[in-house]
Symmetry: C2
Subunit: 471 residues, 2 copies
Amino acid sequence: MLLPQNVAITLQETLSRQLRDAILAGTHAPGSRLPASRALAQTLGVSRVTVEAAYARLEAEGYVRRRVGAGTFVAVAPLAPRQGRPSGDAAIAGLSRRGSATVPDGILPTMPWGRGLHAAVPDLRLFPRVLWQRLQSEVLLKGPDSLFDYGDSRGYLPLRQAIAGYLAQSRGVRCDADQVLVMTSSQQAIQLLASLLLDPGDVTWLEDPGYPGARAALQAAGASLVGVPVDDEGLTWREQALPTPRLIYTTPSHQYPLGMRMSLARRLALLDYARAQRAWVIEDDYDGEYQYDHAPLPAMQGLDDAGCVLYVGTFSKVLFPGLRLAYAVVPKPLVPALAAARRAFDGYSSQIAQAVTARFIEAGYFAQHLRHTRLIYRSRRDVLLEALHPLRDELVPQGFDSGLRGVVRLPPGKEAPWTAAGKLAGLQLRGLAGLYLGQPGREGWMLAHATLDHAEIHEAVAQLSRVVHGR
Amino acid sequence: MLLPQNVAITLQETLSRQLRDAILAGTHAPGSRLPASRALAQTLGVSRVTVEAAYARLEAEGYVRRRVGAGTFVAVAPLAPRQGRPSGDAAIAGLSRRGSATVPDGILPTMPWGRGLHAAVPDLRLFPRVLWQRLQSEVLLKGPDSLFDYGDSRGYLPLRQAIAGYLAQSRGVRCDADQVLVMTSSQQAIQLLASLLLDPGDVTWLEDPGYPGARAALQAAGASLVGVPVDDEGLTWREQALPTPRLIYTTPSHQYPLGMRMSLARRLALLDYARAQRAWVIEDDYDGEYQYDHAPLPAMQGLDDAGCVLYVGTFSKVLFPGLRLAYAVVPKPLVPALAAARRAFDGYSSQIAQAVTARFIEAGYFAQHLRHTRLIYRSRRDVLLEALHPLRDELVPQGFDSGLRGVVRLPPGKEAPWTAAGKLAGLQLRGLAGLYLGQPGREGWMLAHATLDHAEIHEAVAQLSRVVHGR
């Protein structure tokens, strides 16, 4: 009876369903007698065997009782009347306050990104699919059964080790594999940390303008959000003017969205402040791997000896977003609690994907892919800046020295009309307006250079130029 | 400089790091002059080029300032003294109340399950890896770039359609693809629903004894948990005696852990009650696909016309846990809010895994795999019950007519000592004691028949017999 896949629902099933619906609707009162199977078969023009089978099924399910020689009787009461409430209406009434706060408010862009000036994603055409497929096939065919089983909520150990090695060498993160927890996404890392460290109403500082994903995660955790302005050296705060935070969220390598990197002096001052206040700092290093013009500053995590920095990184920008792998590096005492939270929230990440990624790193393909894509993205960045040069009176670039995108600042009052004009011309443009927590400040667009080749960049900027010049 | 993968950290890097550490430790005061590069090179016995490179890097990072003809000066203040707090200590002080409630309390078993009487998981040896690898390779090599990109937090449409079709035909769930949301796990579905529908302190009914995963998820959402007893027909409640719930969590197809199925009369009564109270019902159908002795009862979701049932299912038992795919079926008005919560919590599930699963279902392999494994699991269940028969005075089986495991009830006072004796004999046994919210009731073990072949079952029961008879 189970799973008549790809075949029509049988006559007997149709009949069972109709009888069931009629009983629940009250067409046959509890205790009333259903027609004899022979009579019903004649009425419906089906075989008696079909009716008998349907009755037997309803009996097994508890809808009817059959007594030999007496007949088939309805065994359950109909569903109570619906009290005039339309189907699904409960859903509207039933959201919690917390749930209502999570309902979409348009700050998170729709997916997928595809390609274009709006798409701060890696160029998926550059990804070595064949190589990946080979590693994946090896894992699927020869990997141990344990990779298919329930897994460790901290992550797959070989991947945690590979991440720790990579972060120590290239990002100045000081950790061993024990401190690395594999996550689905930075989003999950921020959300789990927020849920573990914040009680509803706890003050959290965010850069303003800042990353909407973090805002959504912190909001879902019930944080009381305080926007903190940024200047050319990153987060800038006057302690007296702001409520003391329990958590500070920051993007020091490449501020989201404005693109500056936090100066060393500011990093040290922020660490001192966090330590003094016993506040946590989430350092979101979402695309710090792509540095074009200078050696990367080591992560704040590497400067922290008080154990207050929670480092978050992702494979979404350096491999591909669909991989669904990211990581958090946390002080050792926090590891069991974070692993427990992960277990309670969704369990653990795909160990097969983790095993493939670990092999990709161990074999040196990851370093190779990073070097290759960094060269390409740098040349695309150069082409974009050059192409934008003639528009320099209207579009002022900043934050292009690292990452997959930067920002162009716009003359006051232009962001909204030019974005709308771009949309009419088929050009997706991501403005800054939605990224402010407080009063919107500077106007601008985030422009991504990573997914377009040189010709496509020139074409996109030509379109942009027509939008800006109203032609 | 980035990513010297698989090579030793260079001399220059070592030197930069030492200087950095010395500056941050206060060995060189802010403004003080570092040795000339020639002198330092001589002292250390390295080339002057190395020292120059290290100084240039520190300057780029903001640690020093260099003035031509004058020298190299420390540019930052040392980190504030640590105030006697050992590293990572902040982690202990810093958990939120909510976070502390999530810290491991031993109710969730450790992973992986492996194989044995304790393992209520599918037999991974039966999984068609080669077939899966072929489908996976097709998706990786020929699938559109969009599968590698950011994805839809509701899930990949072809999989949602395949799930809707399967559920309608085999589980009596009434839905269309719009109402299906793909999740990482049942755990995530329960957790997201709880977070969306419950405010901290909201009363939630759970079956007692019940599923610890649900308990952990609901606890993390701040629910006020009320254990409701179960009898042979499932959940049994006296309305006057219990606080009115906002949410009811139940496992009607195969009660966790006791294994009975909820009678139709009880299902209808529970629906009536939930509707009258405007309470939500989570119907967790975690292994309802495996029915051995009778046609499955249609899901409660299919009986619900008030839109209060939230149906949760998973591929963990019917494919493999490491796949990380499950689903929720919810009333339409709830879909946008649940998708938004998913976006805020971790984003979306791997679209590549979703595409492979969709093809596996569409091609009929899923139905085939279910039929095949159901026959095997049924014969293993038969062998287990037969093997247990000689122990019937001590071990009383129940709940074996569906799913991957049942329960044997034990004489009073025996669960703890026999479980400990089993452990000494190398036999993992999962008792019921930890599954009660209130006072522990009946004693017993959950025994799983799915991962062992006939010979292994006989061997395991022989061990069990020695434990029970103290030999």
